[in-house]
């Protein structure tokens, strides 16, 4: 599961959804994997304003990854200030791409900060099905 998806995933339990503590889910005993992919400037620009930035920073901190900028970068921060035809991805864009789209959780758990329920990740696929007593 790419780390980007963790910015959209919260606890599946309905009574948790209204609690701010249920988002983001906290990685536990996570094994990370890096899968290289093509940098996509158009996508980064579009997705930036939709991210919940401080929650993203929380996740990277908990995973011990290099710190992200404190405030959310802008679309302009994604390109180097260069004259010419071709857009060149900035270091900020490359770093973000690395974190959001190349780094993923291979194995481990994702824990709700509100109810403490742990969702398992196996072979890169998170399981958010709820056991009978929690539905």
């Amino acid at each position: 599961m790419k780390l980007l998806t963790l910015n959209f995933l919260t606890c599946a339990i309905k009574s948790c959804k209204s609690s701010p503590a249920s988002f983001p889910l906290h990685p536990r005993d996570a094994t990370l994997e890096i899968i290289e992919s093509d940098l996509n400037l158009a996508f980064l620009r579009n997705i930036l304003p939709r991210l919940m930035w401080s929650e993203l920073c929380t996740i990277t901190r908990e995973l011990g990854l290099p710190a992200l900028p404190e405030t959310v970068p802008t679309g302009e921060d994604m390109v180097e200030k260069k004259e010419g035809e071709e857009e060149v991805a900035s270091q900020t864009a490359k770093d973000l791409h690395r974190v959001l789209l190349e780094t993923g959780i291979r194995e481990g758990g994702l824990v709700c900060g509100n109810c403490g329920h742990e969702y398992k990740v196996l072979e890169g696929v998170g399981n958010f099905l709820l056991p009978g007593h929690l539905v």
């Binding site: 309905k14 996509n40 579009n46 399981n127």
Partner: protein, 469 residues
Amino acid sequence: MPEYLVRLVQVHESFRKAELQALADVAGIKIDFISYDEDSPFCVVGLPSDNAARTMISRGILSHGIYELWGEGSTYDNLHASVRKRSSEKWSLYHEIPFRFTLDSFRGSRKPADQRGIVDSFSYLGFMGPIRMKEAEVSFKVFEDYDNKASEPKHLYLGRFIGESGRQAKTTYDLKKRHYISTTSMDAELALLTANIALAATGKLFYDPFMGTGGFPIACAHFGALVTGSDIDGRSIRGTGGSARKGQTGKYDVAGNFKQYGTESHYLGAFISDLTNTPLRGLILGSEHGGYLDGIICDPPYGIREGLKVLGPREQLGEVERATHRDRYKEPTYIPPKRPYSFIAMLDDILAFAASTLVENGRLSMWMPTANDDDIELIIPTHPCLEIASVCVQPFNKWSRRLLTYRRLPDSEVSQEALLLAKKEYDKGVKADDLNAFRRKYFEGFKEYQRLQEAARATNDIVPEDTNT
């Protein structure tokens, strides 16, 4: 605006106009429909330029190509008169260069000698360049539109070739050549078409809540979107459930399908979940954070084989049973209980989910089966945050399948009450009232549909053949 002739395919007719509109919308191009007929593969549109026409058609699935319209008429005399009137100032541009001049007869045919005669009748255009069948610099085509079994065409067009469609993707993504599929995979043509109608494109994020073996996400990735999906069945994502392909061995999974097409950079991965208890975050009222999905595409599970179930105990669990689930759920062999789920309740859940997760103007494209009954035909599930963008019908004998596409209205066009309702539905999972007369009627029709579908499966007669396109 200059006029262009789109050479459509004569299949999935009711999807064609919706696709052309979507192709224009996704490219930010204004399109005017000048003439369109369900019974004809020729459509005349107004577009701002050749470039706009080329860009737009390049990802079309239900078309072959687009032509600058040089003239049209009901007889050859009328066509020649129209060509003289509309395009004479353009003739000289093509006097010296290698060219190609051919005939396309729809539902009709001409002997080679007649074809030559028709081409020769345009000699007044004054083209002196060499005739080339290959590598011509400019290509002209005469189009003849016949009624079924008619001896003479009812309408004629002359067009200058501008650009080819993206229909070859139908072959590239053919299920027969895909590594990993299931018995319910939607054929490549319809999956690509759905992705077009939902405006999948570079830079966007798309999601399929019932992804199965990933057919829709794969189609969206073809058009440049980044995609994710989920399924209640983890085996279909991880691929340990086997493939529907005969004699296939070894492990195939959804990620492997993306690799097959070279779009693995577009796949964000998938997760196991159930739409009624989705882990995806919803609307946060009073925050600057709105939706984050550009599009949602799905073919909700409605068939016999998949069963229509969601997680949850069949009835309220007793204290002892609850304790048993609590004790056992961490065991690897634990299977959560499932309960039957009304199809209508599911449609409402999908709409509430879309209202809460789509960006403003994002699209939901949802397939929905319907028994062919006058009362039922009109029922389209609604939500105050969603506006219907198009309804396309794939008719079968006694039932049909519809593709409903909705646009998420901007918050400014939606009432506060509607937003609050959307949030409440999303948080609490408000259920549809199955006792409503219309809904009950639909549901009865749906049972009939299930019976028909089962019968159709038994005779292997579900998907119509792609003939005479």
